[in-house]
């Protein structure tokens, strides 16, 4: 999309003859983005097989995007810092979830409840993130498997707290709605309706076409400002090629017009309502990620991610920087889970946080990220693709095999497989690179 490749800060534009599209280049593009392309095809096929109408699909995907993308974005910073996929965002999610549970128990509803949840979970998430960071520092080189197992471990502790200790003298809680009839342990589902449900989403809801229109407008205005700054020499001219900017501008213009026209028509798409406030929050996080990369802190993250030894010798406190990356990630995951739950409305007390790490990782990998590089663009694209698959699988399964369950299995197979394949490919590429470097 926009300047999402800030992380490498686009190198100098190559001379004209290198810009031509050659078969070799196409091959390289395909190999580098194999997973993403495969997924786009899969989703397209799935959409057709499922027989969903555009309006239904849009409604679902908008909802899923709004509740999941924050969590996916939380993975970016640890990848920058060379710590791989932080499967331990589960701990942050648990902090957020715990906060929501208690706020619901205390009966505080609406935005007040949300703000209180944020207040409660923040210090807890920071503490958990700190502990995770310390542990990962001890397990250098094995960060991903460690964070994976840590997630499982934390899940056990979570169950210990909320199934065994809640209601007991250790954590007294008298609440017939939330607590099991035995008096100890939370019920397996918690319903947030009337309380925190849609607390953030409901702030502003905009019909989809209008949303697209406003979004494109903002985008176009920003582009114009970039062009003006380029003219006045404040931004390095080389960073953005003129052709790219103009194409982008035209696309945004087209989107704006489509949005305007559709919103004035009687299309079903107008009934798809976008939780605009939530989207704004997500946009803020996107901007935050982009901002971090441009700061000294972001540069430190990247340096540590590139080469820990050189970073250390240059005077960067590598251990502390890595811990900071994890703390930020965990904190964002905690807030992300709050967004997630308020949209979901009713959630499984013991289940909805379990897969957070794996789903977010699968999503970002599908979007084209790798263990060593992840951008906002990857997160957004990946969330859309991953959740599209979620939506279409059961329906496609039913239409194809007469069994929705098969669709579900297929979805699991693909999600896990994607991570395994992406990780494997990445490891293999790194090994090949190391071998080639030795020859030099």
């Amino acid at each position: 999309m926009k300047q999402t490749d800030i992380q490498t800060m686009d190198p100098i534009p190559s001379p004209a003859h290198e810009k031509r599209i050659t078969p070799d280049k196409v091959k390289r593009f395909l190999i580098n983005n194999l997973v993403t392309i495969l997924f786009v095809i899969l989703c397209a096929v799935g959409l057709r097989l499922s027989g969903l109408s555009m309006a239904f699909y849009l409604n679902d995907i908008v909802s899923r995007f709004a509740r999941n993308s924050f969590l996916v974005l939380a993975l970016i910073i640890p990848v920058m810092a060379g710590m791989g996929l932080n499967f331990a965002i589960v701990l942050g999610a648990m902090a957020g979830q715990g906060a929501i549970i208690f706020v619901t128990h205390w009966g505080i509803a609406g935005m007040n409840g949300i703000l209180l949840s944020v207040l409660i979970c923040t210090p807890i998430a920071i503490l958990l993130g700190w502990m995770t960071g310390r542990l990962l520092n001890r397990a250098r080189g094995k960060e991903m498997i460690t964070s994976l197992i840590l997630g499982f471990f934390a899940n056990g502790v979570y169950q210990l707290i909320f199934l065994i200790m809640v209601g007991s003298p250790l954590i007294p809680m008298k609440n017939e709605v939330l607590v099991l009839s035995s008096g100890v342990g939370l019920r397996s589902t918690i319903d947030l309706s009337g309380g925190l449900r849609y607390a953030i989403d409901d702030v502003i809801r905009t019909p989809f076409p209008q949303f697209v229109m406003y979004l494109s407008l903002i985008g176009a205005l920003y582009l114009v400002s970039v062009i003006i700054r380029m003219r006045s020499g404040k931004v390095m001219v080389q960073q953005y090629s003129k052709k790219r900017l103009i194409t982008l501008f035209l696309l945004l213009l087209a989107a704006m017009i489509w949005g305007l026209v559709t919103s004035l028509s009687v299309s079903m798409i107008n009934s798809v309502r976008v939780p605009a406030f939530t989207m704004i929050i997500i946009a803020v996080l996107c901007l935050f990620n982009i901002f971090i990369v441009k700061t000294k802190l972001g540069q430190d993250f990247r340096t540590v991610g590139q080469d820990q030894h050189i970073a250390e010798v240059s005077g960067i406190n590598v251990s502390r920087t890595r811990v900071l990356a994890i703390v930020m990630s965990t904190l964002l995951a905690a807030w992300g889970q709050i967004i997630f739950l308020q949209n979901l409305g009713a959630f499984s007390t013991y289940g909805s946080h379990e897969q957070v790490g794996m789903f977010a990782s699968a999503a970002i990998l599908i979007g084209g990220a790798s263990v060593s590089k992840a951008t906002v663009g990857h997160a957004i694209l990946g969330t859309i693709l991953f959740h599209t698959l979620f939506i279409v699988s059961p329906l496609a399964g039913r239409n194809l095999f007469g069994d929705a369950q098969l669709g579900e299995y297929f979805r699991s197979f693909v999600a896990y497989g994607v991570i395994g394949v992406a990780l494997g490919l990445h490891a293999w590429k790194k090994l090949m690179q190391a071998k080639n470097q030795k020859k030099v």
């Binding site: 100890v184 069994d403 699991s412 497989g417 395994g420 990780l423 494997g424 490891a427």
Partner: protein, 352 residues
Amino acid sequence: MITPDVRRFGAVKDTLKSFGLPRIIIVVFLVLLWAISMFLEIPFPQLLSDTLVRWGMNGVLVLAMMPSILAGTGLYFGLPIGIICGLLGGVIAIELNLVGITAFFAAIAFSIPFAFVLGWVYGFMLNRIKGSEMTVATYVGFSIVSLMCIFWSMAPFKSPAMAWPIGRGLRVTISLADRYEKVLNNFLSFNIFGIMIPTGLILFLLLMCLIVVLFFNTKTGIALKAGGENPRFAQSSGINVDTMRIVGTIFSTVLGAIGILVYSQSFGFIQLYTAPLFMGFLAAAAILIGGASIKKATILHVLLGTFLFQGLLVVALPVANKVATLGSLAEISRIIVSNGVILYALAQHSGD
């Protein structure tokens, strides 16, 4: 010249250190729970019987961790693959309507070719991703389990013992009651002081251990261990370390296949679909509890670790039930203990 060693002190200190903090904690914890259980008048012989059964039942699955560790590929988180081979063998045996001990050994025989092939492919893949084996293995394992779920749902098997009465596919749990349930457990079993000893089961476990020991004393086994301990050393002696790693993976896969069949016959049911998902972690935790590390494992670690881990799980539930009706404490403690132990092993600075 052989000298009396002042360094022997170092050896003693090393043994204590290598016994490790988590193992000491778990042994203490286990003994404590046993003491509490006796205090709460929970019949100890029953506890011990159950522990012995679960020891024999899980032992081979834990044994499957060993070749992978010794070959240098880390904890065998790809155990679900071996398990699936075993389940395939078991299912084929049922389709052929076999019963008794023949069925059991036939199931093993059917599963071994699958295990060889899949183990080879899997080992080949592991060689391409040295250093990231455990992470990738986990996800590939999960992925294959999901793929198999699709297979089980559409499998062309017809045996009424396994298939859904209407439509296609196999049921989630398949009873072995009339076939070979507990066929090993009951073999030559006897009672002593109220403790039921499942002799056949234990003998089978020991037999598997013996096979493993014999293997690692062969020329290939010795080469495999060297390749895992110091690949450059092995290479300089002309050993193809990559081939050794594949051999180790195949061996682990075969043991996994046999292991799940031993487990199922004791349990009385074959469990398809998502059952294999987390078994790799439980087996890994057991061997780590026994004293193994990501790079080193012995038979003693397997036997001791399985006994301690299962012993803990067996005693935890009744104790928890007596103290307060905490039904799921067993499951939760299993999660916490197994993953906690693996975390400890990972944090041991054992290098990249």
